[in-house]
């Protein structure tokens, strides 16, 4: 099945979505910042500075940036293991992210969690999860609590294509549909769960059509087109916030790096990776739109790109200068 495509000229869409020049610039910079974070993470790993694992989201940046732009900063986020992009989009302190990645006491989780478990409760970012599908049912409780507390935020639950085959995914969709909870489900379909292509693990595609069984409206979109993400998620968020119940969005995208630190990409071809990189890259597509439509001059975008590099470099400096946790504190935080 083809994703929903939008043929409308870029500028018309940007105008219809009320995206100001400043917002477009800011989003471009965030896309670049996420990409730079992932490239740096890969580099630090190669240099032997990371003890642990990581799941990089290079290639999937538009989903994170689009969701963030189309929802409120105080909406709740439930994240999965490939979560760096969503954190950065939600205005995370990149120094604290990098410090967590390097396992430092100054990190978001005081070095206890690492890349796979970054969380920032003060910004309604309820954390990443190492258990595939583990966070999905939390959205039910967040939705219920928001209703009980009579608040108008929504819960955004992010997960991958692979997670949609865990039992809790189906249980959660059923309860969310039944109780009309304020949840935006976003399935980031990057074509593979580890080595398994979606076609090899799903009885019927797209994944989003599963929502129909639970009376939840769904969309299957091109997740590498930033404006499409913004448009779909924006209207979904309005619908949810107005009390109509959950919406399911499946965003088609692609991950460039291997699944985690060790992956020889035996399950996909170099050609496939190159094609996505060269012809469907979310940052390149957005950049080309901005340049072709003369929203910005090339030099203006270069400034954004350089800023992104600087942000990441100084985050590494901060993280490397930070201390390891003290071994004597290993038993802290087991109980509140």
């Amino acid at each position: 099945m083809e994703t929903e495509k939008n043929q409308e000229p870029f500028l018309n869409r940007a105008e219809r979505l009320k995206l100001s020049k400043d917002e477009l610039r800011e989003m471009y910079k965030t896309l670049c910042t996420i990409r730079q974070f992932e490239l740096m993470a890969d580099k630090l790993y190669a240099l032997g500075k990371v003890h642990g694992t990581m799941h990089l989201s290079a290639g999937q940046e538009a989903v994170a940036v689009g969701i963030r732009h189309a929802t409120r900063l105080d909406d709740y986020l439930i994240n999965h293991h490939r979560g760096h992009g969503h954190f950065i989009s939600k205005n995370a302190d990149i120094n604290l992210m990098m410090a967590e990645f390097l396992g430092k006491e100054a990190g978001y989780c005081k070095g206890r969690g690492g890349s796979m478990h970054i969380a920032d409760f003060s910004s309604n970012n309820l954390g990443a999860n190492g258990i595939v599908g583990g966070g999905i049912p939390h959205s039910l409780g967040v939705g219920l609590a928001l209703q009980m507390q009579k608040r108008d935020q929504i819960c955004i639950a992010i997960f991958g294509d692979g997670a949609s085959n865990e039992g809790v995914f189906h249980e959660t969709l059923n309860m969310a549909g039944l109780w009309k909870l304020p949840i935006l489900f976003v399935c980031e379909n990057n074509k593979y769960g580890m080595s398994m292509a979606v076609e090899r693990v799903s009885a019927k595609l797209p994944i989003a059509q599963r929502a129909e069984a639970y009376d939840i409206p769904w969309h299957y979109i091109d997740g590498n087109d930033l404006l499409t993400v913004i448009e779909t998620v924006g209207s979904a968020a309005d619908y949810i916030r107005s009390g109509n119940g959950p919406v399911f969005v499946e965003a088609q995208t692609y991950r460039y790096f291997g699944h985690s630190k060790s992956d020889r990409n035996l399950y996909r071809s170099k050609d496939e990776i190159e094609t996505w990189r060269l012809t469907k890259d979310p940052i390149l597509r957005f950049k080309n739109n901005l340049l072709e439509n003369e929203v910005f001059k090339a030099e203006e975008l270069v400034v954004c790109e350089e800023e992104a590099v600087k942000i990441i470099e100084s985050a590494v400096e901060f993280a490397e200068a930070s201390a390891d946790p003290d071994a004597a504190t290993v038993t802290e935080y087991v109980y509140a």
Binding site: T53, G103, R200, S202, V334
Partner: protein
């Protein structure tokens, strides 16, 4: 005897059993082209095809459930759970279903299945990918629990597991996969419930499993130069447990230290102490029994903390000295 790695030993047991018995098949996540998260099943898809190397969606309860169903029909499934931590997702199928069927159905059903699962910390994989949950499984009557410490044992015990008519939890420590050891060519099995004396000694008994066997051995060999003679018992299977071997050893040395990576509270060290204190070995004890275990914490990400969370060689050495000197 050729030296092979722990991972290769497991693969060769699987390989030979699949050649020997058409009923044996493997089911799990990313076990084909990818070869499993730790490469154990590398090359098996090409040899045996996708009808016997069955790659599943990410659905742990149903992986074990499917294995249970196939076992009931006389097949010999070997299920792979990518990290032992994910056993918590399948616990109903393992604990309420597989473990209980033989008893609950009056001995009329058999569930001959093996669940392989990598355990342990040391890779920086943090709280949800580093646990040692063997005690949890030991507490469920009907399950057998195996924790091989060397390539030789991994192969011999896995073959026995596949032949066994009961559900067997086969726990592989992930830091052991690349360790090498001698493995005989050809057929051999290691019976369940028979401990191995990894080092004979007269001053103190250490009972340790998995990776802790190696740490204890390294320390014992160092302390031998100082005249402290440690005996190391590797139970190899925690269920069934070779209580005689432990009782005999403690009766000889009069001192006991149990070392495991799993958390302390309700960990299996307590079980060993109970066995010893209610046996004839109790009369021979001339020091309090001690345990050195993982701390009661989720495994942290940071390397310094991760090390501090589980017993290291220096901790073992400190404990041995304390027991021998009688100062704690």
């Amino acid at each position: 005897m050729p030296e092979i790695t722990y991972a290769e030993a497991i693969r060769s047991a699987l390989w030979e059993e699949m050649k020997r018995d058409e009923r044996v098949f493997i089911i799990g996540e990313d076990i084909g082209r990818y070869g499993g998260a730790f490469g154990v099943t590398t090359g098996m898809l090409d040899e045996f095809g996708d009808k016997r190397i069955i790659e599943t969606p990410i659905s742990e309860p149903s992986i074990i459930g499917a294995a249970v169903g196939a076992a009931l029909l006389g097949m010999r499934p070997v299920a792979e759970i990518m990290f032992m931590d994910f056993v918590l997702l399948s616990l109903d199928q393992i604990g309420n279903q597989a473990a209980k069927m033989h008893y609950m159905f009056g001995g009329k059903a058999t569930v001959p299945l093996v669940v392989r699962m990598p355990s342990g910390s040391g890779t920086g994989a943090a709280a949800q990918h580093s646990q040692s949950l063997e005690t949890l499984l030991m507490h469920l009557p009907g399950l057998k629990v195996v924790t091989p410490s060397t390539p030789y044992e991994a192969k011999g015990l896995l073959r026995t597991a596949i032949h066994d008519l009961n559900p067997v939890c086969f726990i592989e420590h992930k830091l052991l996969y690349k360790t090498k050891g001698e493995v005989p060519e050809g057929d051999y099995q290691i019976p369940f419930g028979v401990a191995d004396i990894k080092r004979a000694g007269k001053d103190l008994t250490i009972v340790a499993n998995g990776i802790m066997v190696h740490k204890a051995l390294a320390v014992a060999n160092r302390l031998a130069d100082e005249g402290i003679d440690v005996e190391i018992i590797d139970p190899r299977t925690l269920v069934p447990l070779d209580t005689e071997a432990i009782i005999n050893s403690v009766s000889k040395t009069g001192k006991l230290l149990i070392v495991h990576e799993a958390c302390e509270t309700a960990g299996w060290a307590g079980e060993i102490m109970a066995v010893v204190s209610s046996s004839r070995a109790f009369d021979y004890l001339d020091a309090p029994m001690r345990r050195l275990t993982g701390k009661n914490v989720p495994i942290p990400y940071n390397r310094v903390l991760e090390r501090a969370a589980v017993p290291q060689e220096e901790d073992i050495e400190r404990e041995i000295r304390a027991i021998v000197k009688g100062v704690y």
